[in-house]
Symmetry: C3
Subunit: 252 residues, 3 copies
């Protein structure tokens, strides 16, 4: 990864404060909003069909996260996603719990088909479940190592045209051909809820200022890893990690 | 501001523990509830039309915040607001994102017309957008300085009969004629999500024990500013600020 | 309480990482999810009717919390609860605000009748309101001492077949005949929102690995008390308590 490009993108986020429109889950909303503010972006959470066109219209990026989906919210997600696609705005899809229930896998594919996400970020189980219907997620936590999901990620990228990101002990970013890895971070990050969802939102912030979604994904995941590592070095316990992580994003 | 009156109101909140009924957004709920508990009030979050009359009936104040509105929640807001108005209970309206989408501006006005809020608290863009349809908010963050919104605030107060509060580097509180300012606080407070929403809830706690909504607004905003300043003095980073702010409210 | 059994159950949670399916309120979701992760369980938050059978099917326990209920969510709660009962999976019901509004009391009883919860955990007002229609809760906070609710708890246990847990200065756990108490914890825990809701989720984690719901309740409440006490010893302020409590659960 080109460190100068990462610095340039961080400076751009702080200068432009891109509006990142999140349709995300109830568990993640507060933490993801604070992470976006800490890095210099401007978060908005909105899901009503009535305002999707207008909100996407003023946003720099859209993040769709199906963590606590229901029929009404899926309507909002599809309306927002279609508008973003039409306007050429970047869309990050986080298919939380794909493979845990058929409803989640089906909805993730519905969003992929109708909205054409620019980036898909998930854990290993989720990415594998989108490619192989036999893979079962354990709720929203991964039952698989990220290393085992690389082939699925490449196939998903080729099938959908999206950059696919697997987060895990090693993060993988692929366009179907090229594969980059990020190995920083800490296993303790999986003990803080919504850390993965927040990675999707942070990737959204980078996609809001960098037209290259591959590089935006790489930068977003790198910042997550760096800041997670630094926060764990301060105190290796999940409550403290949650707070110190936000501080590290701010000070990065 | 009369410091003795502020102390009296704080003591009243701690003695009476007013029930503050919040219909607020998903991002703010946890933080606002903790802030209300820390100051000595009793928060309840409830939005179902089925229980709005009963819940407002036992509450000391109602806070309506449209941050993550949708059609169903707006029904709950209107039902609660109408009941509170009928019963003569104070209503604080936080028109989050007014000006960002027509749906938000329209809904804020619908609530104003049907529920007659006692206090309207917003950032500069939101207050200006309620008066001048040409003002655009950037999502839920202000694109304007609070100083530029004073005339709009006065006009909004005169048009609606509500006390209008603009939060910003300088907070303004006006009834349309009289204007008071509060200059404490810290710019870092804007980097913690739901800090403005929480100001509305804290103002609601004061309105629940002080029948003068002008003074209640002044006291609520002053406490926010004092505690924010003290928390930033402990550590100038947004994750820590979130936690230290709650501690400061508790110890104030 | 048998300390060896508690240690055994904690080790089982860490080894098996039971999936705890929560249909809980918006205020509690983040905090409860972090508490479950910290103790070693795997939380999932899901409420859509479309996936209730599938999600309950892979879960080890179901927690139903009516804190921010509405008609649509109640459908999800009933669908999940019926499935869990049919499959013989433990159900923890948290009747938040029973007694505050008739809608809450009625819904709690609807869930009891249709889903047959294994464990019911509430504060004194809530437990008393489920037995005596004249008891009024003050929003979601208790207006009664837990000592005064013991007879109601016993009666509720006998009427429903559930283990009933009252949390308060003294926690009571009863099957209608036997009564055990837990006296650790700290009054400051009531100043952190969702602490009671999180107790229900932690009890759910124990119920997910211990087939004896009485012992699971005892262990869950004991861990809450121990960790709360330790966290308060670090710093007696509610913001810090929220974070230190999660750290203590992790280190327990």
């Amino acid at each position: 990864m080109n460190q100068e490009h990462l610095k340039r993108d961080l400076a751009l986020i702080r200068a432009k404060s891109p509006l990142v429109h999140n349709i995300t889950n109830y568990v993640a909303m507060n933490f993801s909003a604070n992470a976006l503010l800490a890095i210099g972006a401007s978060p908005v959470m909105a899901h009503a069909v009535e305002e999707m066109e207008d909100m996407v219209g003023i946003a720099s990026a859209l993040v769709i996260n199906i963590g606590t989906l229901d029929a009404e919210w899926v309507c909002g997600m599809l309306a927002a996603g279609r508008t973003a696609h039409k306007l050429g705005k970047p869309i990050v899809l986080d298919p939380v719990g794909a493979g845990a229930t058929p409803y989640r896998t089906k909805t993730a594919w519905e969003i992929i088909h109708e909205c054409h996400p620019t980036i898909i970020r998930g854990n290993a189980s989720e990415i594998m479940a989108l490619v192989d219907a036999d893979i079962k997620s354990k709720g929203v936590d991964s039952s698989q190592s990220s290393d085992d999901a690389v082939d699925s990620a490449k196939q998903l990228a080729l099938n959908t045209g999206a950059i696919v990101v697997i987060s895990g002990a090693t993060d993988y970013i692929t366009d179907g051909t090229r594969v980059e890895t990020i190995t920083n971070g800490s296993p303790l990050m999986t003990q803080v809820t919504a850390m993965g969802c927040t990675a999707s939102s942070i990737v959204g912030a980078f996609a809001g200022i960098n037209p290259d979604p591959f590089e935006a994904s790489l930068h977003g995941m790198a910042v997550m890893g760096f800041c997670g590592e630094r926060a764990v070095a301060k105190k290796a316990a999940p409550g403290s990690l949650m707070i110190n992580f936000i501080d590290e994003l701010y000070e990065f």
